[in-house]
C-alpha cells in the first residue's frame, strides 16, 4: 500500500501520522519522545518502528513531510519603527510564519541593542520600518547597524520599498539577507503573507541547525515549516474550505502546550454592533497570538507568579493542593504526564487559566465614548462574538474527561463586557493530534486534508 508519512518534531514528542495514499484514510498515529539532546532521528525511528508493529502492514512510503518546533522552534526578532505600527506588523508577520517572537525593537536602534540582538539565540531578524514611500531614515540606520555588527543570522527586509536599493548596498555580501514586500505598505494596512513565505523558506534551508535534523532531513523529503505554521494552515483550510468543498466558517483554534498557549483565529472580526469605529492596525483573516507566559509545564511558573495566580485559585476550587509545590514540579519536570485524577484535575485548572487569559488577549476590545452625537464605540482587534467554533488541541484537552469545561472559560463574560470573546460557539476537539499533519497534507491535496479533518475532528 502506498502511504504518506507526516512528522511533527515537537519539543517533547515526535508525532507521526500515516495516511493511506489511495483512500486518504489515516492508517495510524504514533508518538515518541523527541530526542533533541542526542539525535532527533532516534525518537523518529522509534515511533516509526512502533507504527510498523502496530499496523502489521506493508506499506510503501511515497512522501514524507515534516514540521518542527523542536529546540524551541523558530525564533525571530522583529524590528520596526513605531511600536504600534510597523514594529507590530513585523511581529504579526513573524507570528503568522509560526515563529516565536523573542523580542520586538522600535525606532533607531543603538549599539547595545544591536549587541543584544547579536547575542540572542534568534534564528532570523525581520527588519521593517516605514510605509512604502514613507520614513526611510530609521530602517537605513538600523540596516547600517546590522552591517556594522556583522550579524550572522539571516535578515528578512520587509520595510519601505523606497529604501531597498540602499539596504542592498549596505548589506552587500556580508549579510545573509532576503528582500520581501513591506509588512505595512500603507498606514494601518498589514501585508504579512510575503514575509511569512520568505521566513518559511529560510526555515526550510536552515533547519539543520537543530541537532540531528541533518540526518532526518536526508531521510525525509522536506522539513517544510514550523509546527505552528502547519496548525495555522490546517485551521485556515478547515475554516475556508477548498474550491470543491465548503469549510466550517469562522473558527478559533486554541493550542495549549507546555511552554506556550497559541490562539489562531480564522475570522474577519468586523464589528457586530453599530456605531463602532475600528482603530489601529487592520487585522489579518488568519491571526495567531502566542502567550509565552502561559503553559502547563515550562511556563507554569510564569503563569502562577504572573497574571494567572489569582485565576488558578478560582479554577481549582478544591484547596488542598500545595500550589507552589505542584507548579514547581511541573516547571522542573516538563515531561511528566499526569496518571491520576488528582494530577489531571490540577493540569486542567492550569489549562483553564491558559484558555481564559489567552482568549482575553487574542480577542478585540471595545471602548465606549460619549460624543455630541451620542454613544460611540472604538473597537481594537477582532470582534469574535459571533464565531461558530472553538477547536481545542493539546494533550491536556485530549486526556481530559470534559474538555468542553476547559474551553468554555474562554467565552464572553458579562462582568467583562468590553472583551469581544465568543458568545455561543460549538466546541471541537483534535482528538488524534492531526492538525499539524493535515496542515502538511494540505500542501499536497487540500480537498483530502479537509475531508480527513472533518472526519476526525469531533464535536464535544
Amino acid at each position: 500500500m502506498d502511504a504518506f508519512l507526516f512528522i511533527d518534531f515537537g519539543s517533547t514528542f515526535t508525532k507521526l501520522t500515516l495516511v493511506d495514499q489511495e483512500n486518504y484514510k489515516i492508517i495510524a498515529t504514533e508518538k515518541s519522545y523527541t530526542t533533541v539532546q542526542s539525535n532527533v532521528y532516534e525518537g523518529y525511528e522509534k515511533a516509526l518502528s512502533n507504527i510498523y508493529k502496530k499496523t502489521e502492514m506493508d506499506f510503501n512510503i511515497t512522501k514524507k513531510l515534516a514540521c518542527s518546533s523542536a529546540a524551541g522552534g523558530l525564533k525571530i526578532i522583529a524590528i520596526g519603527l513605531v511600536p504600534e505600527l510597523t514594529a507590530e506588523s513585523a511581529k504579526r508577520a513573524a507570528l503568522g510564519a509560526g515563529a516565536k517572537v523573542i523580542k520586538t525593537y522600535s525606532f533607531q536602534l543603538n549599539d547595545s541593542e544591536m549587541k543584544e540582538i547579536k547575542n540572542s539565540n534568534a534564528n532570523i531578524v525581520l527588519l521593517a520600518g516605514g510605509t512604502d514611500g514613507g520614513n526611510s531614515k530609521t530602517i537605513i540606520h538600523n540596516a547600517r547597524l546590522i552591517a556594522k555588527h556583522n550579524l550572522k543570522i539571516p535578515v528578512v527586509v520587509g520595510g519601505n520599498k523606497s529604501c531597498i536599493d540602499d539596504i542592498k548596498e549596505i548589506f552587500g555580501d556580508d549579510i545573509d539577507y532576503y528582500i520581501t514586500q513591506n509588512v505595512m505598505p500603507k498606514l494601518n494596512t498589514i501585508n504579512i503573507d510575503p514575509a511569512r513565505e520568505v521566513i518559511r523558506k529560510i526555515f526550510m534551508d536552515n533547519i539543520t541547525q537543530v541537532s540531528g535534523m541533518e540526518k532526518v532531513e536526508k531521510n525525509i523529503s522536506q522539513v517544510v515549516m514550523p509546527t505552528p505554521a502547519a496548525v495555522l494552515k490546517a485551521a485556515e483550510l478547515l475554516s475556508e474550505g477548498t474550491e470543491k468543498e465548503k469549510g466550517l466558517g469562522d473558527l478559533i483554534v486554541v493550542d495549549i502546550g507546555g511552554a506556550t498557549t497559541d490562539v489562531h483565529s480564522a475570522a474577519k472580526g468586523y464589528p457586530t454592533k453599530s456605531s463602532v469605529v475600528l482603530k489601529g492596525l487592520k487585522e489579518p483573516f488568519m491571526k495567531r497570538t502566542v502567550e509565552g507566559d502561559l503553559g502547563l509545564r515550562y511556563s507554569a511558573k510564569s503563569l502562577y507568579e504572573g497574571s494567572g495566580g489569582f485565576l488558578l485559585d478560582k479554577y481549582l476550587e478544591k484547596t488542598d493542593y500545595n500550589l507552589s509545590k505542584e507548579i514547581n514540579l511541573r516547571h522542573n519536570n516538563v515531561d511528566i504526564v499526569p496518571n491520576n485524577q488528582r494530577d489531571r484535575y490540577f493540569d486542567e485548572a492550569v489549562a483553564k487559566v491558559c484558555v481564559d487569559l489567552s482568549m482575553e488577549r487574542h480577542s478585540g476590545k471595545i471602548e465606549s465614548q460619549y460624543t455630541p452625537n451620542g454613544m460611540m464605540f472604538y473597537q481594537e482587534g477582532k470582534d469574535l462574538q459571533n464565531i461558530s467554533y472553538i477547536l481545542g488541541t493539546g494533550g491536556v484537552l485530549v486526556n481530559s474527561e470534559n474538555p468542553k469545561d476547559v474551553l468554555e472559560v474562554g467565552l464572553y463574560k458579562e462582568e467583562n463586557s468590553m472583551s469581544l470573546k465568543p458568545r455561543n460557539p460549538k466546541f471541537l476537539l483534535d482528538k488524534e493530534y492531526i492538525l499539524s499533519a493535515m496542515g502538511l497534507l494540505s500542501m499536497i491535496d487540500g480537498d483530502q486534508a479537509l475531508r480527513i479533518l472533518k472526519e476526525h475532528i469531533v464535536e464535544i
Binding site: 514611500g133 469605529v277 460624543t371 455630541p372
Partner: protein, 143 residues
C-alpha cells in the same frame, strides 16, 4: 518630477463627523497630494505615529464639534518630541465653542504651534493653495 507630498488627515478627539473628512480626502488627492487618512475619532498620537511612518510633511486636523481647542492642546509639543520638527500643522472646522472673534481664535492656535488655521466655511481650494505655497518653494515664488 518631485515626489508627491504626504498629508496625514483626520478628525481629532471624540468627533465622529465623517463627511467633511471624506470630501477633504477626495479633494486633496485630486489636487495631487498623497493623503493618509486616519479617519474620525482620532487621538493626537494616531496623527503623530502616522506622520512618522509615512514621512508626512503636513498633519491636517479637522474638528467640527467645538472641542478642537482642548483636543489640539500639546500636539505641537508631542510632534517635537517625536522628531517631527518640520511637519506643518493645519487645523480647520468649528474649532472653538460658539461664535468668537476669529482673530483671537487664530492667535490662540498660533500660540499652540499650528501653522495654518481655518475658520468655518473655508473652501478646499484655499487650503490647497496654502499647501502648495508652504510645500513648494517655486510655487511660493510665483505667487
Amino acid at each position: 518630477m518631485q515626489d508627491k507630498k504626504t498629508i496625514v488627515l483626520g478628525v481629532i478627539g471624540s468627533d465622529c463627523h465623517a463627511v467633511g473628512n471624506k470630501i477633504l480626502d477626495h479633494a486633496l488627492t485630486e489636487a495631487g497630494f498623497n493623503v493618509v487618512n486616519i479617519g474620525v475619532m482620532s487621538p493626537q498620537e494616531d496623527f503623530i505615529n502616522a506622520a512618522i511612518e509615512t514621512n508626512a510633511q503636513v498633519i491636517m486636523v479637522s474638528s467640527l464639534y467645538g472641542h478642537g481647542e482642548i483636543d489640539c492642546r500639546g500636539m505641537k509639543d508631542k510632534c517635537l518630541e517625536a522628531g517631527l520638527d518640520d511637519v506643518l500643522l493645519y487645523v480647520g472646522g468649528n474649532i472653538v465653542v460658539g461664535k468668537q472673534e476669529w482673530k483671537d481664535v487664530r492667535y490662540r492656535f498660533n500660540l499652540m504651534g499650528f501653522d495654518r488655521i481655518y475658520p468655518p466655511g473655508t473652501s478646499v481650494e484655499r487650503a490647497v493653495e496654502d499647501l502648495r505655497a508652504d510645500l513648494f518653494k517655486e510655487h511660493k515664488a510665483a505667487v
